[in-house]
């Protein structure tokens, strides 16, 4: 029994790594927003686990080992923030203000619609922080009783939507300023939006990267207010 679990864990890690490297290669080759590495890797791993009848519980030890470095890796996001400090100094107050407003609106509308639609509390709290990068979203959701993998899924759905139609919608709304486009994409659709903004240009990409990290921090800071306001509904 002990050896079997041990082998299952090694198999799960190898499987996830292989799926990740494969989908990453695919994405780097075509760079299409629908080729989302998180979604495709997870889907491939889930498919294999289902076919081999390995229950999710047997995957958990592997997940715990693989995400050991997630915390320190996330902390490392301070480095791109620091590299862009010149932008932050130049446009500081309007940037922080816009990202704060955008993050707050995203949380409130997502949670409000979910709540009015009659979704259970744990799902509402999982969807609330869906505009920010997965490590932040997962942790914020957990504080208020959300479910980490559900949050991760909502984050990916949001990011895919934002990177698919975000640029087009901004053009439709006559937002042409590169700073504004990058800021909007990074605020609402985190890393995936940032990747799209980078394809538009250097300035858009830098702004989106900055907005994405600020959105993580500001969403965490504003979440108590959003949860408090939601308390008055239904």
């Amino acid at each position: 029994m002990g050896t079997t679990n041990y082998l299952t864990t090694i198999f799960c890690i190898a499987l996830t790594l292989a799926a990740y490297l494969g989908t990453r290669k695919l994405y780097l080759r075509y760079k299409h927003p629908l080729l989302n590495v998180v979604a495709l890797t997870a889907a491939a791993v889930i498919a294999v686990l289902v076919v081999l009848r390995i229950p999710y519980n047997d995957f958990v030890p592997a997940k715990n080992i693989m995400t050991l470095l997630l915390g320190p890796a996330t902390v490392g996001l301070a480095v791109p923030l620091y590299r862009h400090r010149e932008l932050l100094r130049r446009f500081g107050v309007p940037i922080v203000g816009c990202v704060a407003l955008g993050s707050f609106l995203a949380m409130l509308t997502a949670a409000l619609i979910a709540k009015l639609g009659g979704l259970p509390h744990d799902v509402v709290m999982s969807i609330m922080p869906k505009g920010v990068s997965i490590p932040f979203a997962v942790e914020i959701a957990q504080i208020y009783g959300g479910i980490p993998p559900l949050s991760a899924a909502f984050v990916v759905a949001t990011g895919t939507l934002g990177s698919l139609v975000g640029g087009w919608l901004l053009t439709l709304a006559r937002v042409s300023h590169p700073v504004a486009r990058g800021l909007a994409l990074g605020t609402v659709s985190h890393g995936q939006g940032t990747a799209t903004a980078l394809m538009e240009g250097e300035q858009q990409g830098a702004m989106a990267g900055l907005a994405m990290i600020l959105a993580g921090i500001l969403t965490a800071a504003l979440a108590p207010l959003a949860v408090w306001l939601l308390g008055f509904v239904g």
Partner: protein
């Protein structure tokens, strides 16, 4: 080889910062995730010059390049929650679409307006 050792040393620094941040959160009981506190803490250390970017960038650049690998490992947990999408699919879709499009346009228009004002 020395590069690898250097990266591991840098990883230890990141880990220490993350650890201190989660510890701070647990003793103060503030409703902010430890990783968010960690980002702010590291940013402060960099801005004040206590840490230099070159003392950690080997580790951070590698980890950030592969950040989505960790996300994928988390997302596998969805296999337990697929039913949520069957039960509430339409509401979830509406919530995601509206809460993405509305802030996108608000942030885009507002920041463009503010930028025009300045220049």
């Amino acid at each position: 080889m020395t590069e690898t050792l250097k990266a591991l040393g840098q990883l230890a620094i990141l880990w220490a910062i993350y650890w201190v941040s989660t510890w701070l959160v647990s003793v103060t009981d503030v409703p902010i995730p430890g990783n968010v506190v960690g980002v702010v803490l590291l940013f402060t250390l960099l801005c004040t010059g206590v840490l230099k970017v070159r003392q950690i960038e080997l580790a951070t650049d590698f980890l950030l390049k592969h950040l989505v690998f960790f996300f994928a490992a988390v997302a596998v947990g969805l296999m337990e929650w697929g039913v949520v999408f069957y039960d509430y699919g339409l509401t979830l879709l509406a919530a995601i679409v509206i809460s993405t499009v509305l802030p996108l346009l608000v942030v885009g228009r507002l920041s463009q307006f503010l930028n025009r004002e300045r220049s």
